[in-house]
Subunit: 223 residues, 2 copies
């Protein structure tokens, strides 16, 4: 098991987040590191999606993970147990990550050896949508048990993301979740969003989503 | 279907929230209105729990509901369709309710005719835990598909609540959710919390939880 580093992050309310995010993207472009920001509600399956995605792309791209949590290190420990470089950012009550926090977290990973870093943001459909982390692409998970009405209630999150992963599709048969209604609601907010249906648990659909990620990351790294 | 009122709420960053919450509790005590603050992740089942709880206590207590959402009125419309007085608070991007927002929302309900008002807070396990709404009791829902590790990751929410409703227990058989491990984690944070296992969908366990609510509300109203 890799060692997990713990970094306590505090919000600098004076920081100009947009500027910090642009500066971070410039650095990532120079360093050829593809940074992906993964957001969702608590319990939608961020950690298991990260693990199944990295498992799918093992041997083709080198991954690191930035785990954000208000407290505890359980997610970073799970990731590190799979031999993946992981840093735990403990946000101490803050409900989102900003670019300065992410930049501090990246200092804890050896970026020279990594092609892709995935940020597991704080489990929250509200605040993380409002803060540019400096990531190259933004991805969100909506899990089937949460319901198909979430795009109506948390529209900003669905609007700022490049990809929507509909996770836990193995629950579809026990649920009244309407995939078509959900899809229509999401595309009305964000016509360009890519939607993949997956089950991080069974592996269903992960290949297609991982192929998208691999193509985007490879294109970015080759510049 | 009852008419739904929509109130746009903006956060007054200068307000002293603790003071406003105390003042609201004083007023509620005078008016004999029991105010319950219900919190959870998005999609944990707040609206369906409210409906099944009120259904259980129909004819014994008169209920009103304050629905908080960043956008949309779907929840308030669902509640009003059942003939229950509902006000929609649209928070316009804010990730929680504070006591001033709740006080404004209560102005939209005719409190004289109501024994219990339930606040459906913004779906978020982080920020709502930090703001006293002026409620008499705080209740949270954790739904089975979210996982049993949530007390480790969102400890403040589990610490500030008087009751934990473990919802969607009809999903237990398809899940590796460990009820005993979850219970132990929660009680370590908050030894006095009451835990009820329910399924708002099937009705299982709702009677016991509703009986607790009825007893608390009746005690409060009788003063």
């Amino acid at each position: 098991m890799d060692q997990v580093r713990l970094i306590e992050v505090k919000q600098d309310i004076h920081a100009d987040n947009e500027k910090a995010a642009e500066e971070l993207r410039r650095q990532l472009s120079e360093q050829k590191t593809f940074l992906l920001n993964l957001m969702s509600s608590p319990g939608a399956g961020k950690t298991s999606t990260i693990l199944s995605t990295i498992g799918q792309l093992e041997g083709t791209l080198r991954f690191g993970v930035l785990e954000a949590d208000i407290d505890s290190m359980v997610d970073a420990e799970k990731v590190a147990a799979e031999g993946i470089s992981a840093v735990q950012l403990r946000t101490g009550g803050f409900c989102h990550l900003d670019a300065a926090m992410v930049a501090r977290g990246l200092e804890g990973l050896e970026l020279g050896g990594l092609d892709v870093v995935i940020i597991e943001n704080v489990g929250n459909l509200v605040c993380p949508a409002e803060f540019d982390t400096g990531a190259i692409k933004n991805v969100m998970i909506l899990s089937v048990p949460e319901g198909d009405d979430k795009p109506l209630k948390y529209p900003l999150m669905f609007t700022v993301c490049d990809v929507l992963l509909v996770n836990k599709i193995d629950y579809l048969e026990f649920s009244d979740f309407d995939l078509e209604a959900m899809r229509e609601r999401v595309l009305r907010l964000n016509p360009d969003i890519r939607i993949f249906e997956i089950s991080a648990k069974t592996g269903q659909g992960v290949e297609e989503w991982a192929a998208w990620l691999s193509e985007e990351a490879t294109g970015f790294i080759r510049g």
